[in-house]
């Protein structure tokens, strides 16, 4: 894995960078249907990533054919990153983490962002709420 300064490479991936609960995250652009600002359906506010502070935006994804929206604080932008700036979680972390919602990590601007598995995150959150109810 080679990390270098951000260059436009043939092998690139699109990510949506967003802020949620005071931390910066990333999610694969492919899993985001749309970015919205008005809450029409119930936005999901309770996930392992924490609760949004002011929920200005929503990330819409399709889960089992239905649209679901994750409430986030800000959407910073849609970016193209080199494919090798994306890495899976270390095995120990992957095995011991009590969530399926983190797919990996993205090296961006000298920090590691959590690469969120949006559908899994939402599915998990719905499982949590149904088990609580």
């Amino acid at each position: 894995m080679i990390f270098g300064p951000r260059e436009v490479r043939a092998n690139e991936r699109g990510i949506v960078v967003f802020d949620l609960g005071g931390r910066r995250h990333a999610v694969e652009a492919g899993t985001v249907e749309r970015i919205v600002t008005r809450e029409e359906d119930g936005w999901i506010r309770s996930t392992v990533l924490g609760r949004p502070e002011h929920a200005r935006r929503g990330l819409v994804t399709t889960l089992d054919g239905r649209p679901r929206t994750l409430a986030v604080d800000e959407v910073l932008g849609v970016e193209r990153v080199p494919a090798d700036s994306i890495a899976p979680l270390p095995e120990v972390a992957r095995l011991t983490l009590r969530t399926r919602g983190i797919a990996g990590l993205v090296a961006r601007d000298d920090e590691l962002l959590l690469l969120v598995d949006l559908p899994e995150l939402i599915r998990e959150s719905e499982e949590e709420s149904t088990s609580d109810a």
């Binding site: 652009a29 492919g30 970015i35 932008g77 849609v78």
Partner: protein, 409 residues
């Protein structure tokens, strides 16, 4: 032997013999010597004519003595009775004050008679004296009552006068010192008044300009207030416009995001699209940043205008108040000016008058002091007189009651 009722039956001494007869005579003589005149000699029983004669003489002596004694006793008794009566009479006088009659005792007893006459005279004298005493005490009583009344009256008048004099003296003293002060002050007042007139005129001028200034402030305040109102309204309008722009910018941002998303999903083909979308986002971000700045600015302006409005309001209110107060001050100053001018003239007059008044007052004070002294003396005299009169009245009373104890008619 003869018997007398006054004496007891003389005992017959039977004389049989001469010796025996002489014995009997001696016995009787011994008794006579001892004061016992009760014995008689039985003369018939005596034969001897000489002894018979002696015996008869002895009997006669005894008889005579007895008679003498009896008479003396009678006379004594009479005397005693008379004295007792006189004594009773005196006692009546003493105990019951009975002076109305004499003793009522007649006696031709030479010893008794003068005594009784003396007592009668005494009673007479006493009676006369008592009558006189009664009258006199009545007179004294009346007079002393009059004196007491008069003295009391006098005393109270004296007290009133004394206190009145005292007050007057005190007032006069105050007046004197006040007059003195006024006289001194009048000179100063005259001078000060002159200065004050000058100062007051200057003050009047200053007030007038202050008045002007306040009026101007008031007008200005009004103007500011109106200007503030206008500004506020404009700011409000800007605020609502900014809100609209904000909304639009946000929607643009969203559009740009979604466009970029599509571009990313399209991979290589969507690269150009992504770039355009990115630019649009930057634009929207700029607009949003600007509107944020404007919003902040509007907020500041609003705060400032609110503050100014409040201040202006305060200014207006205080300007109004100031105007009123200035007005009042003006009036006061004008009044003062008038007063001062009068005072200035008056001061000069006062100065002269007080000079005269001062000496006059001094005189009055002196007279008052004298009068006060005199009054005090009179007061004391009156008090003494009153006291004496009271004493006298008491005495008269006692006398009167004494006299009343005796019945004189």
């Amino acid at each position: 032997m003869r018997k007398t009722s006054a004496t007891k039956e003389p005992s017959r001494a039977k004389a049989r013999t001469d010796a025996g007869q002489a014995e009997a005579i001696f016995r009787v003589l011994e008794k006579l010597a001892t004061g016992d005149y009760g014995e008689r000699i039985d003369v018939e029983a005596i034969d001897s004519p000489h002894i018979k004669k002696i015996a008869t003489l002895v009997n006669a002596v005894a008889e005579h003595a007895t008679e003498q004694i009896r008479t003396a006793q009678e006379r004594n008794q009479n005397l005693r009775n008379g004295v007792q009566e006189a004594l009773d009479a005196i006692l009546r006088v003493v105990n019951q004050g009975e002076l109305s009659g004499s003793t009522g005792i007649r006696s031709d007893n030479p010893i008794l008679e003068p005594m009784i006459r003396g007592i009668d005279q005494l009673l007479e004298t006493l009676r006369a004296f008592t009558l006189e005493m009664g009258e006199a005490s009545l007179q004294i009583s009346a007079s002393s009552a009059e004196v007491l009344a008069a003295a009391t009256q006098h005393e109270s008048s004296m007290t009133h006068q004394a206190s009145a004099v005292h007050e007057t003296t005190a007032t006069m003293a105050e007046l004197k010192s006040a007059a003195g002060n006024i006289a001194d002050n009048a000179r100063t007042v005259a001078a000060v008044a002159e200065q004050t007139v000058v100062a007051a005129r200057a003050g009047e001028a200053a007030l007038r300009s202050l008045f002007q200034a306040i009026a101007t402030i008031s007008q200005d305040a009004e103007a500011i207030h109106e200007a503030m109102e206008r500004l506020s309204r404009r700011v409000e309008r800007i605020g609502s416009v900014v809100e609209v722009i904000d909304e639009i910018a946000d929607r643009s941002d969203l559009l740009a995001l979604n466009a970029a998303l599509e571009g990313a999903k399209a991979g290589e083909a969507g690269r150009g699209f992504s770039i355009v979308a990115a630019e649009m986002r930057r634009l929207a971000e700029n607009v949003l940043a600007s509107t944020q700045e404007i919003k902040t600015l509007i907020g500041e302006i609003r705060e400032a205008t609110d503050e100014t409005a409040r201040a202006t309001e305060r200014n207006r209110a205080s300007a109004k108040e100031g105007e009123e107060q200035a007005n009042q001050a003006m009036q006061s100053v004008q009044a003062i000016l008038t007063g001062i001018e009068e005072t200035s003239d008056a001061a000069r007059v006062i100065h002269l008058a007080t000079q005269q008044q001062r000496s006059a007052t001094e005189q009055v004070v002196q007279s008052m002091t004298d009068l006060e002294a005199a009054t005090r003396q009179a007061q004391q005299g009156a008090a003494q007189a009153a006291g004496a009169a009271a004493e006298l009245a008491k005495l008269a009373d006692r006398l009167s009651s004494l006299a009343r104890r005796f019945r004189v008619s």
